[in-house]
Symmetry: D2
Subunit: 400 residues, 4 copies
């Protein structure tokens, strides 16, 4: 299957505007950060801001401009090596854990690289061949994914500085949910999940297919900080019987006692976020928890995590709150291909398929997800020990 | 749910005989091994023969004799600490990677421990209370599982010795399969999988539940060494596009170039097995491969691994060969609980549930599995990088 | 013993000028580097440029201004935590391997910190109490040491960037030595080594003491790249019998085949240095070699490394070239205290003494050492596997 | 230099008896140990008893029988590979950390190997060529060294077993020293140290050479457990200013709070030793301490460790107690070659020289050293973090 088969074509005109808007958003996200902020890599899993800005640009250059814009010239040959992330088919690349060594090119030079590619993309989009349109859309979706990572990664980097500098003091998280948790009845029996076929979707959301759901209930909202404090107060982080064996080992080895970025001092709990260190809001959804913690919490609460199929089937129910704009929601499903899955053809086929082992699916979207990027069939995925994402949980239960 | 709810009761008389037969089989498996062979631990994942012999005995002592046989006395108090594997509810325990340090008690003393427990079990089984019967059966199933591990672990230990000593020169692997591979049509639509409810099953095989299967085909037999040699000859271990990203990293880091225990020299391939170093049989099923390798092979062959539901639904089809007695068969399914899963109550509830993350399901059974132990609903599970088990693969495909 | 006891007092007037000159030199060394260059830490042993600039400033603030300038106020309290290197007596400190996380304070803010301290130091030095003078001198010597580290550390950081950017394209290494190597007769019998007592010396150079030297000869110049190429051509890096057991293990584990920063391609050897990637100069002294390599080379050459006492006793001989301005010279001496050694009193007592294990002594000075900083009694020291310093070797031999 | 040049020849007759006596002692040391005890390797630095027994035998086979006894045949070819320790010149060898995997050959088969070699050695010693005599002596000295390691290694292995089995319940440590510590005046000025040239010595004890000693004092006896308890009671293990930087890191990383093998419970201190777990004797010398601990203790006591030259010069003084039969004594000297050092020629040249980096010298001898093996010029050496040897300390001080 190809990208082209799969997606309806956006109109050219919209695409140009959409391209400009999304590219501009990346630069606005990077704007509060100094050149020094943009260069550091605080752990191998995270990337520097500058690298994100350059890599998404490399994507357009590699998959759009070089094959489809006659006469296009790279700004600098070396960038092909520096800014490839993991595409084996696109050639060798700089080692991931060494992205923080790239003091050159400077943040300003990366800006020039972006401008160079944007100018060429404008030429390409003036009268684009039909077959490039889905690739342009893929490039934009890809850039949106990196917009979220840019935020999660810089948050981690800033958290390593004892000064705890704020990314943006004026940043506001979404308002907390209205009140008590209610359990909704989920759709049961043979259900269809996966991307509908209209509008963009990643290959991992396809094909749409049938699955069987036993009767279940699912919470209308996410678990809150207040509820998490109860779990902690009840010894949740010290009670081995609540945990998966592997999760307990991680909890002990990492010394987990609270979600990442919590600072518990004398004057009550604080939380480090995009606005800096702020008092913990008990009504806000908990985030920065690993799958292990989410699963242990659910067991403590006498519930369980929903499967990704349950989540998707219930997502459109009336009363289903906080679906896409608060926190990614760990599910009980391992990240594996759907029945009949085919990766995209060509180099972009490495986009998703080769990561389908060792990771758990998160559904929804987060406060760091670009508006309009997420959708009910969207599949996010991370290893079960990861905490630096905006990851929370929604409870589920078997029907009585 | 309790074990008692779940299983029909075997008759007392049969149980005594069954107990004696299974316990005796363990000792016969250990018989070819010297005290020195029985003490070593060749890697943290493996255990010494002597430890297996003692641990299964501890299981009967802890879960049967101490709670249910009035006046039972432990042979030695310290054994409770030494031979607990991972039951948090049963108290502290010796560190797993240090099992090879237990030069004392000696192999002979472990034999005395076994005799002590067997004598007490004989008293208990003379007129057993109804509620202990399922626990006895669980203890026997548990011992059978360790019989297989005893063989896989000693094979690994002997393979570390440059002398490559044989476990048993007269050991014979099962005869190779008849011929070419055929694809069988699997049952489709809503199917029921999981333990039927008659006969013993582990908690992880329950509850029996509905699942949806899209049309698929599944091979009648396992992949052979000959087919694996083709994969190798075609550069399978050097072609990154065939591999999961995490699998490729493992392949590079471990230097995999062939299945574990293959020795490829000038005079053609050899394979180290329970009978020692022998010429590779091209018609025999390949084993000692990781999930990563199995999955890469399937991609190379233009096929895929079956899901565990597909495997179980197809297991009874006419022509479905090599189900339970040759090699465990990696599936495409992550090891997660079935819908509605409840672990057993009490300490034995730690048996399976807490390992349901980070592992892949294998189905079937192997040449090292005790006869009669496996069944269609049986779920084996290991991390995707593990190779020291008798693990092979059976191919599947979407229906055309 | 105190610093005061030990050293003659420089005149106040000279000290003010000397302070200004040395502080200024640090800023000139940092000037070619962008804010991004100044923030990265390329390995735990190296520190960011910005950190060096701030840490040497913290030293003056902590040991001079706070105790001795009434009314002095820190610019920011947090800097005490961020810029303490290893002084336990001076309070807690930021973890060494995380110095690269300090995107804030910015390079510019560090400049402000330096100006703040310099202004206060100017006040202090206007009419300084007698007892601060040796501490001022210590602070300046300390800053000079960090000037060298600033260069070695940024060279390492830039070497990690595939673009291989130059620190300063106009940098010139010292001219190569005149010609063939000659062996000088060293002074023998009872000799005195250690600091004379006039002029500044670190505590580890004291006390001056007697030692016995058997007859020996020592080379008039350092080993050159040409000679090193002969060693390589003769299989030096592949001949186990030339190496210490521990050195061979390091050589294998690290994959050493040439000195660090050598790039051996088709068109002849290149070397990465402060001026960027340049053709290897065969006549220049080899540097960026570990003690293990130096020692193996000496064995290959039928010579040995001099002891530090031999080096110091011979240093003033006529014809003894390249003593202080080319490359540090590994000796055969482990870094241990001199007989009768007493560390300085107070917090500065942590300066040297606590590192007197696991390291080898280097003598001389390098192209990166500030002019006037080194002296015959100077003891530099690094673990035997370290290569990122400007470290070379001078051969010695027993007298025939 | 060769062994032959260096040593006087023992008479042939004495050598045969001496050979038999020393070889027999090894077997008597192994006698209390079961085959299982003899196979385990509890850490990479330690070796199994069985391996020690075989390796010392391999030494005679390789360096004596194969080159010097016409018609000698190896018992089994593979043993050359299995039982070479580190002699590169003697061919490839089994990986050190995997010595514990050698369940075969059995302990009994190793006994047969010893008998095979002993029989051949008897033939060789009947009328031995002159040049083999020093090699025979070397082989015997080598076997004595392994006799000590056999004890230290099995003690470590048994300590890993929660049952804490005794090596030999009847083992008796030497009686504690008489009373309070006295400081003796050491010989000063130009002194000669190193092996005299009569009687056997290892190459690392040569050549005898001059050295200069400033005035010093040295304790007449070793530090006791009682004194060590004072150090602990005074917070010795928690006071960073007492420690070398590297030692403090080791102390923290390893969680040291007392010497190795101390068990501090409610009923007073216990110590695990060759006789099993016994009450701590306050008057006995402390052992199983690292160099880091010894050095920190000396600083706490206002003393220092003696250099190895000071130790050797003082060793023969009247009143110098506990020289050779209690515990090895850490010195302040790094293990480096003596001036003019030449390793032996041939493969035995790898005996000592290649380990002369990264280790500290211990002098004296221990309760585990075979009687008659140690001498004043003897140099033992271990890395500064090692604790499983019988290592203690003797204090020294500069003369007032």
């Amino acid at each position: 299957m190809t990208l082209l088969d799969q997606h309806l074509l956006p109109t050219t005109r919209n695409l140009s505007e959409r391209y400009a808007a999304i590219r501009d958003r990346t630069e606005r996200l990077a704007a509060p950060l100094s050149p020094e902020d943009q260069v550091v890599q605080s752990m191998p899993d995270a990337s520097p801001t500058k690298w994100h800005r350059a890599h998404v640009t490399w994507f357009f250059e590699t998959f759009l401009l070089l094959p489809h814009l006659p006469g296009y010239r790279r700004l600098r040959e070396e960038y092909a090596f520096l800014f490839n992330s993991y595409y084996e088919a696109a050639g060798p690349r700089h080692a991931r854990p060494k992205r923080g060594m790239l003091t050159r090119p400077s943040a300003a030079e990366v800006g020039e690289y972006r401008a160079h590619v944007d100018a060429a993309m404008a030429r390409l989009l003036r009268d684009p061949p039909l077959e490039v349109l889905p690739l342009v859309e893929l490039g934009l979706q890809h850039e949106q994914q990196h917009q979220e990572l840019l935020l999660t990664d810089i948050l981690h980097a800033l958290s390593q500085n004892p000064l705890l500098p704020a990314y943006d003091r004026d940043w506001r998280d979404p308002a907390p949910p209205p009140g008590g948790m209610r359990l909704l009845e989920g759709p049961e029996g043979v259900q269809r999940i996966g991307a509908e076929g209209s509008g963009f979707a990643f290959d991992n959301e396809t094909p749409r297919h049938r699955t069987w759901l036993d009767p279940y209930r699912i919470a209308d909202r996410l678990v809150t900080n207040r509820e998490w404090l109860e779990f902690m107060g009840d010894g949740g982080y010290r009670t081995v019987s609540l945990w998966m064996s592997e999760g307990w080992a991680a909890c002990q080895a990492e010394g987990w006692e609270a979600p990442q970025y919590w600072h518990q001092g004398d004057g009550g709990g604080m939380q480090f976020g995009l606005a800096g260190l702020r008092p913990l809001d008990p009504g806000a959804p908990v985030h920065h928890i690993s799958w292990y913690e989410a699963e242990a919490f659910a067991r403590w609460a006498g519930r369980r995590l929903p499967t990704e199929a349950e989540w998707e089937a219930a997502c459109g129910l009336p009363g289903f709150l906080q679906a896409h704009d608060v926190a990614w929601q760990w599910t009980g499903s391992a990240y594996r291909p759907y029945p009949g899955f085919r990766p995209w053809e060509g180099a972009v086929g490495e986009y998703n398929g080769k990561f389908m082992i060792g990771q758990m699916v998160l559904r929804g979207g987060s406060l760091a997800t670009p508006p309009g990027h997420a959708r009910p069939s969207y599949r996010n995925f991370f290893p079960p020990g990861v905490r630096w994402q905006f990851s929370g949980l929604r409870l589920a239960a078997d029907a009585a």
